[in-house]
Amino acid sequence: MKSDFRARNHPAYWAFIVHRASGVLLSLFLPVHFMALGQALQGAARLDALLRWTEQPLVKIGETVLVMLLAAHLAGGLRLLALEFLAWRDWQKSLLAAAAGVTLAAVMLFLLQVA
C-alpha cells in the first residue's frame, strides 16, 4: 500500500519539491543561457540585439522567475549542506524559513533593480 499526498504534506517535503523542481527547470534553461552567450561569437551586434530584446516586460517577468529559481535552489542547497555536514540542531524548520526568506529577498532585490 502506498502513501498519498496527506503523508507528504509538511514543510520539509515542500522544500524537497521546490529544490527538485527548481533544479530541473534551471537545467532546462541552461542550454538557452549558453545559446544567448554564444551570440557574442557572431559579433557584438548580434549580442546587443539579443540584450535589447530582453528589455521587454514579458522577458523581465521570465528573468524574475529565473532569479527566484536560482535563489530557491541556492538557499535550499545551502540548507541541505548545513543539515548534512553541521552538527545537528533543532532549528531545521527555522533553516527552512530562512531559505524561503533568502529567496523572497533575492526576488525583491531583483524587482527593485528592474523597476
Binding site: M1, K2, S3, D4, F5, R6, A7, R8, H10, A12, Y13, F16, L80, L83, E84, F85, W88, Q92
Partner: protein, 242 residues
C-alpha cells in the same frame, strides 16, 4: 464534542480490498485504537488489527489514520478528525496480511541488515562498563535510543517506497545509536553495512520520518550522522572488507 457518532472507514482485505464504513459512538478522550477496538468487539469480530500495551511503549498499533501513519493508542480522535469522518488503513510500504495488520518482517529484517544488534567485547564475568551520560557520543546515542519500532517512519518514507531495498529510517537510526556506543566493537562492519546503495546515502532528506515519529526522534539527524561517519571511514580507507 460536536458529534455523537463517528463515521469510520476501515480498510478490509489485503493489498487489494476496500474501505468499509462503520458508525461508532463518539466518546470523550477517545483514541483511534478505542474506535478500532469498538468495531472489532461490538460491530464486526472478523476485523483484524494489532495492539498490545495501549500506552505507547510496544510500537505494535501503528496504522494510517486520515492519510498519516500514527500510533493509534496515543492518538486522540479529536486530533485527527475531519468533520465526522475517520479513515483507518494499514501502514504503507509494508505487505498487508489482513485488514489493518501488516507484515513487519521486511522492517525488522533491515534492522539486522544494518547490523542493529550490539556486539560487545566483555563477558558476564567482567565489571560493568562505566559510560558517562555527559560524553558527546553517549548524548548522540541517547538522542535516538527511545525508538519503539512502530514502523511509522518506515511507512512515511518515500525512499522506502521508491527503493524496496532501502534500509529505512528506523534501522539506520538504530545503527547510529550503536556507532556512538563506545562499548560496541562492530563499528567498522556496521558502517560498511549502512554505506551501500540502499543505505544512509540514499536518504533524500524529505524528513517525513522526523515529522511523523511519535517519539519525537529525528532519524534524519541519525542518517546525516551516519553519512558523515561513513564518509570519514571511507577517507581513512576503513570501509572495505576487513
Amino acid at each position: 464534542m460536536a458529534v455523537s457518532t463517528l463515521r469510520v472507514s476501515v480498510w478490509r482485505g489485503t493489498e487489494s480490498g476496500h474501505l468499509q464504513t462503520f458508525e461508532v459512538p463518539r466518546l470523550e478522550s477517545q483514541t483511534v485504537l478505542d474506535v478500532v477496538t469498538h468495531i472489532q468487539r461490538s460491530l464486526d469480530p472478523t476485523l483484524s488489527y494489532r495492539f498490545a500495551c495501549r500506552v505507547g511503549m510496544c510500537g505494535s498499533c501503528a496504522m494510517t489514520v486520515n492519510g498519516r501513519a500514527r500510533w493509534t493508542c496515543r492518538t486522540h480522535v479529536s486530533e485527527v478528525m475531519r468533520g465526522e469522518a475517520l479513515e483507518v488503513r494499514p501502514l504503507s510500504n509494508l505487505p498487508v496480511i489482513k485488514d489493518l495488520v501488516t507484515d513487519m518482517t521486511p522492517f525488522f529484517d533491515k534492522w539486522a541488515q544494518a547490523r542493529g544488534s550490539f556486539q560487545g567485547a566483555t563477558t558476564r564475568r567482567d565489571d560493568f562498563a562505566r559510560v558517562s551520560p555527559e560524553t558527546p557520543e553517549r548524548r548522540l546515542a541517547d538522542a535516538g535510543i527511545e525508538c519503539i519500532g512502530c514502523g511509522v517512519c518506515y511507512s512515511s518514507c518515500d525512499v522506502v517506497a521508491w527503493n524496496a531495498d532501502y534500509l529505512g529510517p528506523a534501522a539506520l537510526n538504530r545503527a547510529w545509536t550503536l556507532v556512538n556506543d563506545v562499548r560496541d566493537t562492530d563499528r567498522r562492519s556496521r558502517l560498511a553495512a549502512v554505506a551501500g546503495d540502499a543505505g544512509c546515502h540514499a536518504c533524500h532528506t524529505h524528513m517525513s520520518c522526523t515529522e511523523r515519529c511519535p517519539k519525537k526522534l529525528s532519524p534524519t539527524a541519525s542518517i546525516a550522522g551516519l553519512k558523515r561517519a561513513a564518509m570519514m571511514a571511507a577517507l581513512k580507507g576503513e570501509l572495505g572488507d576487513e
